[in-house]
Symmetry: C2
Subunit: 273 residues, 2 copies
């Protein structure tokens, strides 16, 4: 049972309907406690203006989505590293709790997952140096194994926490139920993370059947994820942040009136989380 002030709206949930200003105003109208902008929405609004409107609305920023993609060019080019520095700067500008990292999959033409993972570790280390100096926490988001090739080659909490162990202070994880709900070691890894490294909690649901690998996420309660159980693991692990709702849904929620979507999120927070 979540009241709306414990919810944060990830702007991807209404990415086809609203710009950042509309998202901020929607959060206020529906009583959300926070927001997590994607960078495209923030840049479109202008970073300073976006920061101002979020601050004026009194919303907590549960994260900025997203940095990463270290493998996109097959090496850590200046373009890749600079874009991640800009992401840190933007996260700082809006007072985000963390910068969420989708680390990238296999480089173009490669089948070498181990090499991709090495590149990611090195890239994260480079961004972390910059982020630490600005006290901006970096959150590795392990993505579901079905995205290992094309989005992120960090595919479990265990693997993400191994990276954190290796990289030291200032880096933790974003736990998205969609990516980790299946993990037999989920409770153990959340406990291992601990409050210092549990930086964000993303919620939605896994639909049966799932009709698209990327854009068929479900509204909380419409799928098979035991959301209260996973939230209890996070809270037992010391996480006390907001519950960030991130639903990619090309055929359903992205086609609806955004106010209807937010109203449904508020309702499901009470019944299904």
């Amino acid at each position: 049972m979540l009241t709306p002030e414990r919810l944060s709206l990830n702007t991807a949930t209404v990415s086809k309907q609203w710009n950042l200003r509309q998202c901020v105003e929607g959060c206020q109208r529906h009583g959300f406690g926070g927001i997590a902008p994607w960078r495209d929405k923030l840049q479109e609004a202008g970073v300073d203006e976006g920061a101002r409107m979020i601050r004026d609305a009194g919303l907590t920023v549960t994260g900025l989505c997203r940095g990463g993609w270290y493998t996109a060019e097959g090496s850590l080019t200046p373009a890749v590293l600079d874009d991640n520095k800009r992401a840190v700067d933007e996260a700082v500008a809006i007072g985000a709790a963390c910068l969420v990292m989708v680390v990238g999959g296999l480089p173009p033409g490669s089948r070498d997952l181990a090499a991709a993972r090495g590149l990611v570790a090195e890239g994260l280390a480079r961004t972390l140096d910059y982020a630490r100096a600005q006290a901006m926490p970096i959150a590795i988001e392990p993505l579901h194994p079905m995205y290992a090739a094309d989005r992120a080659c960090v595919n479990s909490l265990s693997q993400a926490l191994d990276l954190c162990d290796q990289l030291g202070a200032g880096i933790g994880v974003a736990v998205d139920v969609y990516h980790v709900w299946w993990d037999p070691d989920l409770a153990g890894q959340i406990a291992r993370a601990g409050s210092d490294r549990l930086l964000a909690f993303h919620i939605c649901d896994w639909l049966v059947p799932t009709r698209d690998l990327l854009t068929d996420r479900g509204m909380m309660g419409d799928g098979v994820i035991d959301l209260p159980a996973i939230r209890a693991m996070l809270e037992a692990g010391g996480f006390n942040g907001l519950n960030e709702v991130e639903i990619f849904s090309a055929e359903n929620w992205w086609k609806r009136d955004a106010d209807e979507v937010l109203a449904e999120i508020v309702a499901r927070g009470r019944t299904s989380c």
Copy 2:
């Protein structure tokens, strides 16, 4: 580099084109060393007749697909347990190297993965008692995490091997590259399994993009899986069985002439495995 006698045809690869007799004759025509029938094809042919035609063709049977589905009715009903006994009997009848187990996902209406996994462990124990008496090895096939809800709640080699540890002799794993290629601990878990528990090796490829969660597997070489590297892990672990080709492909290979499919498999064995 695999020569055709090191290949086995899983009948699912041409399930829309051929019955068991056609599969057996196709294997002979293209020089395959083995075959792995699905139960529907075997039952359609008649188990005794199917066993005879495979034996007469001199084909190794790398596995029978499949037993399991312990969670289908929410408890271990006589129907579920008896069907698994029949699967063991059929595997024995055709001289299969193992009976492959797809264990089942969440029971209908359930969100309790831990309970489903408990049910699976108990079901496997029951079938194993029966299989041991007939010296038929049971192979748990961990399925990709994207099937946790609707097909199999055993989703990693680590989890499958924990079950094997718990259940004792007579049970091992079927390693299908499609399900495990992303696993950061793949080499370690294959080594952990060891030759006694590496019971089957299934190959295909992961396409980018993947357009369907179930029926968009690729032909070896068309995707991103490093097949020679994974085969080397198996062989280092003591596996010396055949390479079983299992490709679900509704929009491509299932639509082609089956002889063309087998010819392509033979070619890709030489170039891409």
